[in-house]
């Protein structure tokens, strides 16, 4: 259903019609379409184990739904949902009943409400995802969003439990809450009146927003406002057993002291609940879920993701601009990260290169030193060689000189002899 509201309207002039045009069939056309399409309704029952949630559903819808009574030993709260195709006259209804299993059974109930909130949000999320898809099929989408939450209050006769207040406070902005007093045949009439007043005042003083039956449409305003004011919360009794009263079989609970007739308005508010929930306001419950609770969820989710409208009174908001802006934003971020990474690499490369150059330099220096050492060694060696050569030369000369002398001496020995002879001769 689109969010279209026509009235009030400026800019259009009213013109009289000179005859029957026939567009007064539009509501019928719309109704026919809806009937052909079928309706869908999802109820969530929240309440402690043993408060007759399943029985009440069976009684309300005049049928036996699935399920066995649950034990009290559940470790946490889980939600079980079942979908049924019902038909009444020519109207097909796809009804989903969701039950909270294990609610109120734990010693520490601090987190009891969490799985319920998560479940409700999950249905909103699924719808939102479908709505945001590029190729979507909204008109054939099976809407699983919770349209009504029946909150079962234990018939203590005193007041609400703190678990009740905490849970309802967490749920009141997410779902239409209809609190009911369960198994109210355990409370006497006078106690009941006081109980209802106590409950209502506790809800008000804790700021819990329960569902108000709409009073804007004249045809139902009266009955709805009466209910809102005088009868909430409904005190109900459920039963699928039938007892013969007079010559009719009626749904009832038989006690030794009397029979509680479910559909007797003097005995309990079951009929009122059925009237309000199903016959009069079912469509409004769906509408409120879609236009109020879902829109709130959607708005929060989109804001969380960083979307926001431009100034509502200035240029109309362009989807394309937002998407592109968002896209550019994160593309920009990614680019930046990429750049940073590159820069880091460039830096590392530079550093490493410098390192390696340093190492290379050191290496060359080392070998230059060694080379120099070598040069020195070589030089020394050369010198040594030279000196040895010199020595050799000197020695050679000496030797040669000595030999020469010896030769001379030998000759002189002969010549010395000659000399002696010469001297003798003198």
């Amino acid at each position: 259903t689109a969010l279209c509201y026509v009235r009030p309207h400026n800019g259009a002039r009213a013109v009289p019609l000179a005859g029957h045009v026939g567009f007064d069939s539009m509501p019928d056309q719309l109704v026919n379409k809806s009937v052909n399409h079928g309706f869908c309704f999802n109820i969530l029952c929240v309440g402690e184990t043993g408060l007759g949630k399943s029985t009440l559903m069976d009684t309300l819808f005049n049928t036996k739904f699935e399920g066995e009574p649950t034990q009290h030993n559940q470790p946490g709260v889980t939600l079980k949902s079942n979908t049924y195709e019902l038909q009444e006259s020519n109207v097909r209804l796809k009804l989903t009943v969701v039950n909270t299993v294990g609610f109120g059974d734990q010693i520490n109930k601090e987190d009891s409400y969490k799985s319920i909130v998560e479940f409700i949000d999950a249905q909103f999320e699924a719808y939102l995802q479908e709505e945001l898809k590029i190729k979507r099929t909204l008109h054939s989408y099976h809407d699983t969003r919770i349209h009504a939450c029946l909150y079962f209050i234990a018939p203590t006769g005193h007041s609400l439990k703190s678990l009740d207040l905490v849970t309802m406070k967490k749920l009141d902005s997410k779902v239409n809450i209809i609190p009911i007093i369960a198994k109210s045949d355990a409370i006497s009439k006078s106690e009941l009146a006081k109980f209802k007043i106590k409950i209502t005042s506790e809800l008000v003083s804790n700021g819990v927003q329960i569902y108000q039956f709409p009073t804007d449409d004249e045809s139902v305003a009266e009955i709805n406002s009466t209910m809102n004011v005088s009868h909430l919360p409904f005190a109900v009794v459920g039963s699928t057993e039938e007892v013969k009263i007079g010559n009719k079989m009626v749904k009832a609970r038989q006690y030794p002291w009397g029979t509680v007739q479910v559909e007797n308005e003097n005995h309990c508010d079951f009929v009122k609940l059925r009237e309000m929930l199903i016959r009069v306001n079912m469509e409004d419950l769906r509408e409120q879920t879609h236009t109020r609770h879902y829109e709130l969820y959607r708005r929060c989710k989109l804001e969380e993701m960083g979307f926001k409208d431009t100034d509502p009174d200035s240029k109309p908001f362009s989807l394309q601009e937002t998407y592109e802006a968002k896209r550019n934003e994160f593309m920009g971020e990614l680019q930046k990260k990429e750049e940073e990474m590159r820069q880091m690499f460039v830096q590392r490369v530079k550093e490493k290169e410098a390192e390696l150059k340093e190492a290379e330099k050191e290496l060359h220096e080392k070998f230059d030193r060694l080379k120099k050492l070598h040069q020195d060694e070589k030089k020394k060696l050369e010198e040594k060689k030279k000196s040895l050569d010199d020595e050799l030369n000197t020695f050679k000369q000496k030797k040669t000189a000595a030999e020469l002398l010896q030769n001379q001496a030998q000759q002189a020995g002969g010549s010395t002899t000659l000399k002696r002879d010469k001297e003798r001769k003198k």
Partner: protein, 425 residues
């Protein structure tokens, strides 16, 4: 949570949800209805008169003259909004007129203002739907386009075909033969057959009646289908015919009655357009034409204008999810790039280190060699020296012996000399 498949249940006794249709009825009346009807055709085809006849009102009157009374040079798109009430039901009716269409000598692209208008209404709706804070969105989208075909009797004009081809995927087109009172029934029949043939040939998708379960209703619908396109006559004047006051056109030879089914298909048009299928026209606009526009628009935005056929399968994601995926892809790509760069870096470093190592090894080797060389030379030198030393030593020793001999000899000589001296004395 757990969910089981759906089950069929029979009710025993009254529950009350059979009253749902009434609840829907009630709420819809309270909300009111809106409808936008576009009329397209050359001037003089009786479009304004048709609107007045359809809605039994002087939408276009002397106070609010129709577009035909205003001369246009180019094709304009004009809107008139009126509020009409009937049987407690309020209808906000918007009539979109296209004066100037097909009237120029060169009519190329005369459909452009029309498509632009339709698209801009889709765009407005899309933007309103996409806001974070959504308020009540009026539905100004064009729900139906009545296309007036001139009663030439032959077939569709090229302009007719071109226009319908351009618009059949944007709006529900209902082609009408205008001024049907200029043709005899036989001529009309021929003309209709020819037009439908051409429409099929050119694969033009005109508005189709939805199938419904009711056999009776379907029979009626099939009869209507046989009479397409509807040939209509409109009139602003009431004439008295056989005591009845009817809308009609007075000729010397008789009165062509607008609402007489044997004279023209006006009644069929009115019933279908207003009394039975108005809601369906809106639904088809919303579920088909608008969704087509939206998905094309969003795909363009998401993929930055590139028509990626390979991404068609991903169109079931929302643009946000698409962006998220794109972001993840980009991050993955960056990681990969980082890894690659890291690898290259490591490899280069390794290479360089290896080179350095090799260089070091080489230098070391050379150094070793030089050292060895020097050492060898040293050794050689040592040996030489050693040899020399030995030689010198031995020679010196020899010399000493010789010296000694010489000395001894010379001493002997000296002694001899002395002896001689002694002898001589």
């Amino acid at each position: 949570h757990t969910e089981r498949p759906q089950q069929q249940k029979n009710l025993e006794g009254y529950v009350g949800f059979a009253n749902l249709p009434n609840q829907v009825y009630r709420k819809s009346v309270k909300r009111g209805f809106e409808f936008t009807l576009m009329v397209v055709g050359e001037s003089g085809l009786g479009k304004s008169t048709m609107i007045n006849s359809l809605f039994l009102t002087d939408l276009y009157s002397t106070d609010y003259p129709g577009p035909s009374h205003r001369i246009k040079k180019t094709v304009q798109v004009e809107q008139s909004k009126v509020l009409v009430k009937e049987g407690g039901v309020h209808l906000l009716l918007t009539i979109v007129d296209t004066p100037g269409f097909g009237d120029a000598v060169d009519n190329s692209n005369c459909w452009q203002p029309v498509t632009d208008h339709i698209d801009s209404k889709f765009e407005d709706y899309l933007n309103a739907e996409s806001r974070v804070n959504r308020r009540q969105m009026p539905d100004n989208r064009v729900h139906c386009c009545l296309y007036f075909i001139a009663p030439s009797g032959h077939g569709l004009k090229p302009l007719d075909i071109e226009f319908m081809k351009r618009l059949h995927e944007k709006v529900n087109i209902i082609p009408l033969i205008a001024k049907a009172d200029t043709m005899t029934p036989e001529e009309c029949q021929q003309f209709k057959k020819q037009i439908m043939k051409e429409i099929q040939e050119h694969k033009i998708k005109i508005y189709e009646f939805p199938e419904i379960d009711d056999e009776e209703e379907m029979k009626i619908i099939r009869k209507i289908k046989d009479r397409l396109p509807l040939a209509v006559v409109g009139s602003n004047t009431i004439i008295e015919v056989s005591g009845k006051r009817v809308r009609g056109r007075q000729y010397p030879w008789g009165v062509a009655e607008v609402e007489n089914g044997e004279h023209c298909d006006f009644t069929i048009l009115r019933n279908m357009l207003i009394r039975t299928h108005m809601q369906d026209l809106k639904d088809v606009t919303n579920n088909v034409h608008y969704e087509n526009y939206r998905s094309k628009k969003l795909a363009a935005v998401t993929y930055n204008g590139v028509d990626n056929n390979k991404n068609k399968g991903q169109l079931t994601k929302s643009p946000l999810a698409q962006m998220e995926e794109e972001r993840r892809e980009h991050v993955a790509k960056m990681k990969k790039m980082e890894q690659e760069m890291e690898q290259v870096f490591e490899m280069k470093v390794k290479e360089k280190l290896q080179k350095l190592k090799d260089s070091e090894a080489e230098l070391k080797r050379r150094h070793e060699q030089m050292k060895k060389n020097l050492e060898a030379q040293h050794k050689e030198l040592e040996e030489k020296r050693h040899q020399h030393e030995e030689e010198k030593a031995s020679w010196e020793a020899q010399q000493r012996i010789l010296e000694q001999q010489k000395l001894d000899a010379s001493r002997l000589k000296q002694n001899k000399k002395v002896n001689i001296f002694i002898d001589q004395q």
